[in-house]
């Protein structure tokens, strides 16, 4: 059974990445899992990287 889409939050600025919505403006299709976002992607609001900042899973 597929996992329900999750939301991930930048711990620096609060930006929320919603797996269900993706980021179409950045070429990330709706439904893209957090793990599948490229490692060099940065938070669009503050530039924090996936590696450098903890993204917390929130409901």
């Amino acid at each position: 059974m597929a996992q329900a889409p999750k939301k991930w939050q930048c711990q620096v600025c609060g930006f929320i990445y919603d797996e269900a919505e993706g980021l179409p403006d950045e070429g990330i299709e709706p439904g893209t899992a957090w793990a599948d976002i490229p490692d060099d992607w940065v938070c669009p609001d503050c530039g924090s990287s996936k590696d450098d900042f903890a993204m917390a899973e929130i409901d």
């Binding site: 939050q9 620096v12 600025c13 609060g14 503050c46 924090s48």
Partner: protein
């Protein structure tokens, strides 16, 4: 060889009068973006610095927090004389306060984490009802003023002040004192706002600044004592009882934390709201559009933030030799992030000198970028959304009743007077 900015332009981009007048800095930055977007400035009395005027370069510098530090040199523009004097007063440090703004890692992240969760949207949701009630009270007061007022001085100043003071747990009776001290801090060059009421010499300005900070410290010392003995559900209790590596906060850092929350937490939002109303008073069709379609409010708010850009600059310094836009930046070089310029960058914004309430995309950078991105941005946007929803619901129309005036500052600057005539629904 690095480009040198013409002297008149360099003097303009540090001049508080120029920021108050707006057009001189707009023209100066237009010139720089076109002719020398990253070049050396040496205004009279200042140590040289790189002026970063392009949107892309501001983001590039701001996201590299190990390469470009906040705290090694002064974090805001100061003259050579002021810098020397501050260092004498502060045991060699260039900083009169030590808040998140003046910190680098490891301290910056450790101190920011203390209150970060408080300012995230999911926590702010709990405050929404209360902020909505406060917005209603302030629009009620506007209604009671009988159809004319100075929107900046009589209304916009007080709403964000009250919100942040309630968040901090400062009693309402102390708000006038907090407002006065904030104006003294950010309006130190402006005789209408500063401590002495006259244009200061640099020694007078410093002495006044020290006295203002001293007053803040006296106040927050007492608050800290109280919140350690009697913690409450407020931001002051978080700061008072916060620990870094198992120890209470360094006293100076704790006081600085209160000061930045108590000042940056409202002055910028007031400036932006006043700027927004000034813009709408000159654009009645946009006012009508917003009233008819409140779904436009979020985009409108983003545009007021871009338009106002209340924080005009922060400084950085390079921790290693590097290169930005083909310019060789040496270790130790001082750099000015010119936010109003970034928010008028022709390569990012179509018709940047037009106020467009439905501007999309709107990649405004007034909150900064990188690890130091404004911690209060979600609170600011929430306050503004609730305030504008209330104003637009209840004010039928508004027009200017005189000439608005901006405060005299090259740091935090915005409208101090917006005289209006208006009709309530």
């Amino acid at each position: 060889m690095s480009q040198m900015i013409p002297q008149d332009i360099a003097n303009t981009i540090v001049n508080p009068d120029a920021y108050a007048a707006e057009k001189p800095v707009d023209e100066a930055f237009k010139f720089l973006r076109k002719e020398m977007p990253l070049a050396r400035a040496e205004p009279e009395g200042f140590a040289p610095f790189w002026a970063i005027t392009k949107h892309a370069d501001i983001l590039e510098v701001e996201k590299q927090n190990e390469l470009f530090h906040n705290g090694d040199l002064a974090t805001t523009l100061v003259t050579i004389d002021v810098d020397q004097k501050v260092r004498q007063m502060m045991g060699g440090s260039p900083h009169m306060v030590r808040s998140l703004v003046q910190m680098d890692n490891p301290d910056h992240m450790a101190y920011r984490r203390l209150t970060q969760a408080w300012f995230l949207p999911q926590n702010l949701k709990k405050l929404e009802g209360r902020i909505k009630d406060i917005a209603k009270v302030f629009v009620d007061r506007m209604a009671d003023m009988g159809g004319t007022c100075d929107f900046a001085k009589d209304v916009a100043l007080y709403f964000p002040l009250h919100v942040i003071m309630e968040t901090l747990g400062v009693p309402e009776a102390d708000e006038p004192k907090m407002l006065k001290l904030t104006q003294e801090l950010f309006g130190s060059n402006d005789p209408d706002l500063n401590r002495t009421g006259v244009k200061p010499t640099f020694e007078e300005g410093l002495a006044a600044m020290q006295a203002t900070i001293g007053d803040f410290i006296t106040y927050f010392n007492a608050l800290t004592e109280d919140r350690r003995a009697n913690p409450r559900e407020d931001l002051s209790s978080v700061i008072a009882n916060g620990q870094i590596n198992g120890q209470p906060l360094d006293h100076f850092a704790a006081m600085s934390y209160y000061i930045i929350a108590a000042t940056a937490g409202h002055d910028t939002t007031s400036n932006t709201t006043s700027s927004g109303l000034w813009a709408l008073a000159e654009r009645p069709d946009d006012f009508k559009r917003l009233k008819a379609d409140p779904s436009l409010i979020p985009a409108f708010i983003d545009e007021t933030i871009r338009w106002a850009t209340p924080v005009k600059h922060f400084m950085r310094s390079a921790t290693a030799d590097t290169e930005v836009r083909g310019q060789k930046i040496a270790k130790g070089d001082w750099m000015m992030l010119c936010y109003p310029s970034g928010n008028r960058d022709e390569e990012v914004f179509d018709n940047p000198f037009e106020f467009q309430i439905d501007r999309k995309p709107n990649k405004q950078l007034a909150f900064g970028y990188g690890a130091h991105v404004c911690i209060g941005q979600h609170l600011a946007k929430l306050e503004m959304r609730l305030f504008w929803e209330e104003i637009l619901r209840r004010v039928d129309h508004v027009e200017l009743a005189g000439t608005p005036q901006n405060s005299l500052s090259n740091f935090v600057c915005g409208p101090k007077n917006v005289p209006i005539r208006y009709k309530m629904q």
